[in-house]
């Protein structure tokens, strides 16, 4: 009889966690998209609740080892599981790098401009979680047939950024951010910067006007300024000042100024002044 009583005592003791609510446990580190295993001591069925940043589930489970499929853990962050009123929380970390979101600015930039090209790379896994582990990201800005500029930056909290000089050649430049097998490309159009210098010559037109024409206009890296760039010719004589705006066409700009017996001719484009010609009194 005593043995029976003792047996009953120990059986009740062993069953206590089941009767009263066992402590749910989970151990280890988890990665997004991978199944998670929980331990809910006892036997029989119960209800599992799981709350996380990307979901909330309620399902009947068998106590003991509970495996929750990875589909429920696509989003990195804190998850709280509840069984029999006992809870356990754990973290799901991001999966390996799968995508780079790359912002390149501006889309058009003058050639040979210091620190003019900006790139920000945001590193994501295949579930769009930020990849928090420090990861080297290579940034490369180059036009075809040039070496261009290259820089490697280590990401911090999923972000890597760079500020590069634009190349000296005009044309479409490939701006690439890459890490491991993942690579993203943007195109930055490098255009000629402001003219470096402007030279013009003047001649008398058959109708008596003054014909002015520039030499090919280029920036300081030798890139021809784009067609359509405005060039202003000015003529100052005893009657006053007159100006003519002309557009660059195929590298040159030309215009006709009113006739004058003695005048000072000048040329400018943007903030760049060209040469002066003293007309009529000898140059």
């Amino acid at each position: 009889m005593k043995l029976l009583q003792r047996g009953f005592f120990f059986a009740m003791l062993a069953l206590t966690p089941v009767i009263c609510g066992a402590q749910l446990s989970v151990s280890g580190t988890f990665r997004a998209g991978v199944a998670v295993t929980l331990q809910a001591p006892g036997s029989g069925t119960s209800t599992l609740y799981l709350f996380g940043p990307g979901g909330a589930i309620k399902q009947t489970v068998q106590r003991g080892t509970i495996t929750i499929p990875g589909d429920n853990f696509k989003i990195a962050g804190r998850y709280t599981a509840i069984v029999d009123g006992s809870n356990a929380w754990f973290f799901v970390n991001e999966a390996p790098l799968a995508n780079i979101s790359f912002i390149a600015r501006p889309s058009r930039v003058p050639a040979a401009a210091r620190g003019a090209v900006l790139g920000s790379a945001f590193l994501f896994d295949r579930f769009q979680n930020l990849v928090l582990a420090s990861t080297p990201v290579d940034f490369r800005l180059a036009t075809e047939s040039t070496k261009g500029e290259d820089r490697t930056v280590t990401s911090r909290n999923g972000v890597a950024w760079v500020q590069l000089n634009s190349g000296s050649r005009s044309g479409p430049a490939q701006f690439v951010a890459s890490s491991g097998d993942v690579s993203v490309r943007r195109v930055v159009q490098q255009v000629a910067a402001d003219p470096c210098s402007i030279r013009m010559k003047a001649a008398r037109a058959p109708d008596g006007n003054i014909l002015v024409e520039t030499a090919p206009i280029a920036d300081c890296s030798g890139n021809a300024v784009p067609d359509g760039t405005i060039v202003t010719f000015a003529c100052v004589d005893k009657r006053g000042r007159s100006t003519v705006d002309a557009r660059v066409k195929r590298g040159f700009a030309r215009a006709e100024l009113p006739p004058s017996s003695a005048a000072t001719l000048s040329v400018a484009a943007g903030v760049v002044l060209g040469n002066e010609i003293h007309w009529g009194g000898g140059q």
Binding site: G21, Q23, L118, L130
Partner: protein
């Protein structure tokens, strides 16, 4: 009638153990909301400093975002996130709310405040990343029944992007404790 000795000792012991387990697993009740604390530190922002007006907008819009998240999680109304969330943050939390609704669950959050620190502000002003230490009490519920509750200091990483006239939360990811 005489109670057998074993049972006489076993019954109170089991009762005591039961009480201990029950107390340990009993969810804490959520305390009444204390005044919310907020702080924003922009001193470590790089590569671009955060202008004063931008800082004020961030503080205001992030506060709105949390208010809408708290309401949406409690009332299971995913559309409440539309105004302050975008991109993956909106998708992820809306999915969570839809699943809550589907399963008859909800979360009640008492937000005691945030301590924000800006790490990154892009030179062109198109993205801002910050870390947030949030003081939160969370009640997990099945209908109106409280399943469990916890008081946490959660460490979030967030990415904000400017919209037409406000900043929107694009990423809101809780970081593991360091």
């Amino acid at each position: 009638m005489r109670t057998p000795t074993g049972l006489r000792f076993a019954a109170p012991t089991v009762l005591a153990l039961c009480l201990m387990f029950l107390l340990a697993s009993l969810p804490d009740t959520i305390h009444a909301a204390s005044p919310k604390s907020r702080s924003l530190d922009t001193s470590a922002a790089a590569p671009r400093p955060v202008e004063e007006t931008t800082a004020a907008s961030i503080e205001r819009d992030y506060d709105h975002a949390w208010k809408s998240l708290v309401s949406a999680l409690e009332s299971n109304q995913p559309e409440l996130l539309d105004e302050n969330f975008t991109g993956t943050a909106r998708q992820h939390w809306q999915r969570a709310i839809e699943l809550q609704k589907q399963n008859g669950l909800n979360r009640r959050i008492v937000d005691h405040g945030h301590s924000l620190r800006v790490n990154f502000y892009s030179l062109d002003g198109s993205a801002l990343q910050a870390e947030d230490i949030a003081d939160l009490e969370i009640e997990y519920r099945d209908g109106s029944r409280v399943l469990s509750s916890e008081h946490i200091r959660a460490h979030y990483l967030l990415l904000l992007t400017p919209a037409e006239n406000s900043w929107k939360v694009r990423v809101l990811e809780e970081l593991p404790p360091s």
